[in-house]
């Protein structure tokens, strides 16, 4: 029987951590795109669209991410798609992140005083011009710390993809545990790698927040 040394465990975990990082990036970039589109629809002021977005956000914030993964995994195949773990995990995480990022960004845009919208309208600027020159430059500043902070949630969220069979850090951990029967060591290492991925993001988010607060 093959014996796993500590280095073997760590090496395999680090190899699997690549996929945690890749999946996190997919979720973050995809979620940002969808979230941004939702934000623009929201601010453009269509009442029906706003209500639909409200329901969308409510659905994704009020249900477990695990259930969303299951629903995507089993739901997409009903529509005749052949879903791999990759597709299901990416799809579910993108939708999940988009709902939360949208909420963050909506808050940032709403934090800009309404008078600025009105003043810009009076000056005859178009919606696009107001967004481009007045609102976004200010909202962007406010939005960076919470967005970085949420990226930690995304990295942690990818751990759930292990349950639908996506081999990332957590799944590799359970597999190595089954092979070595050393759960304390294996899951300790898994936790440590997650910590090393997430902690810098948490610190960055806090630092940025302090910095932006001073500037104001």
């Amino acid at each position: 029987m093959y014996q796993f040394t500590d280095w073997d465990i760590l090496r395999n975990l680090l190899l699997a951590a690549r996929w945690t990082v890749v999946l996190s990036l997919i979720a973050f970039v995809g979620g940002s795109i969808v979230g941004l589109i939702l934000t623009f629809i929201q601010t453009s002021g269509n009442k029906v669209a706003q209500r639909l977005i409200r329901i969308y956000v409510e659905l994704f914030q009020g249900t477990p991410l695990l259930m969303q993964l299951f629903l995507v995994f089993f739901g997409l195949s009903l529509f005749g798609f052949d879903v791999s773990e990759w597709t299901a995990a990416s799809f579910a995480l993108i939708l999940f992140s988009s709902a939360f990022l949208f909420e963050i960004w909506r808050g940032c845009i709403e934090s800009i005083p309404k008078g600025q919208w009105e003043a810009s309208r009076c000056l005859g600027l178009s919606y696009y011009e107001i967004m481009r020159h007045i609102i976004l430059p200010q909202a962007l500043r406010v939005s960076i710390p919470p967005t970085v902070g949420f990226s930690v949630q995304i990295v942690k969220g990818t751990a759930l993809a292990s349950i639908i069979g996506f081999v990332e850090l957590t799944k590799a951990g359970t597999m190595l545990n089954n092979a070595t029967f050393e759960p304390f060591k294996v899951f300790g290492m898994v936790a440590l790698i997650y910590f090393l991925l997430c902690y810098p993001l948490s610190v960055a988010s806090r630092k940025l927040e302090n910095k932006l607060n001073v500037a104001r």
């Binding site: 695990l66 942690k156 957590t170 304390f184 902690y199 948490s202």
Partner: protein, 223 residues
């Protein structure tokens, strides 16, 4: 798409769903109470001067907040027995949830405490209150009122996180879903209904918290 949904079949599994629902709700209630208690103690330790205790609490908060809940759960359920601590799945699950909520609520309550005006504490000192009295009677109540919305949404997030407990065979709502879909192969319908149940719990919790807040913090009612 030539698939016909079959939700009626799920009616045969009402009792399983109900049992899972009750377990999830009980877990949530215990977690909310114990986790917020732990968070208050943690925040108290973090609030004063920097001591070894506040450092340890700080480390605990950072460790929990920067690792996934499922890894914490596996560590407690699979890892602790090798140190001689044997826990049933239910105990391990509850412990993991309390530890998780404890860390987040420590951070949330601490933020509330830090926003306390200095004069308030000084006035209390002048009146001759002891340190414990100042914390429990003067600092804590308005601090909790200040962060109440953040605290309650964290409780809801932890409730949603409890879905992961199914992975260590705690028989809660998601476990029921997995069981039912393994029987009737109606995976989409089953998970859809269970997801809606989670949504109902989440919305219900929000209403209950609102009610509690309304009763407990009468001076904030105007908002």
């Amino acid at each position: 798409m030539d698939y016909t949904f079959n939700f009626a079949e799920l009616l045969n599994y009402k009792s399983e769903m109900l049992e899972g629902l009750v377990t999830t709700i009980l877990l949530t209630v215990f977690t909310t109470v114990l986790g917020c208690l732990l968070g208050t103690l943690g925040a108290a330790a973090r609030a004063g001067k920097t001591t070894w205790l506040s450092r340890v609490v700080g480390l605990y908060v950072e460790l929990v907040r920067n690792t996934p809940f499922i890894v914490q759960l596996f560590f407690i359920f699979f890892g602790l027995p090798s140190l001689g601590i044997k826990l049933s799945a239910m105990e391990a699950g509850l412990l993991a949830m309390v530890i998780n909520l404890g860390a987040y609520s420590t951070e949330i309550i601490r933020a509330g405490i830090e926003a306390t005006p200095k004069g308030l504490v000084e006035a209390a000192k002048t009146l001759g209150l002891t340190r414990v009295q100042i914390f429990t009677r003067v600092v804590l109540p308005p601090a909790i009122a200040r962060i109440y919305p953040a605290l309650t949404s964290q409780c809801i997030i932890v409730m949603l996180g409890s879905a992961v407990l199914s992975q260590i065979s705690v028989e809660e709502l998601t476990f029921a879903a997995n069981f039912i879909q393994s029987r009737n192969f109606l995976s989409f319908e089953t998970y859809f209904v269970i997801t809606l149940l989670y949504l109902v719990i989440a919305i219900g919790m929000r209403q209950i918290f609102k009610l509690i807040g309304y009763v407990a913090f009468p001076n904030l009612r105007a908002r």
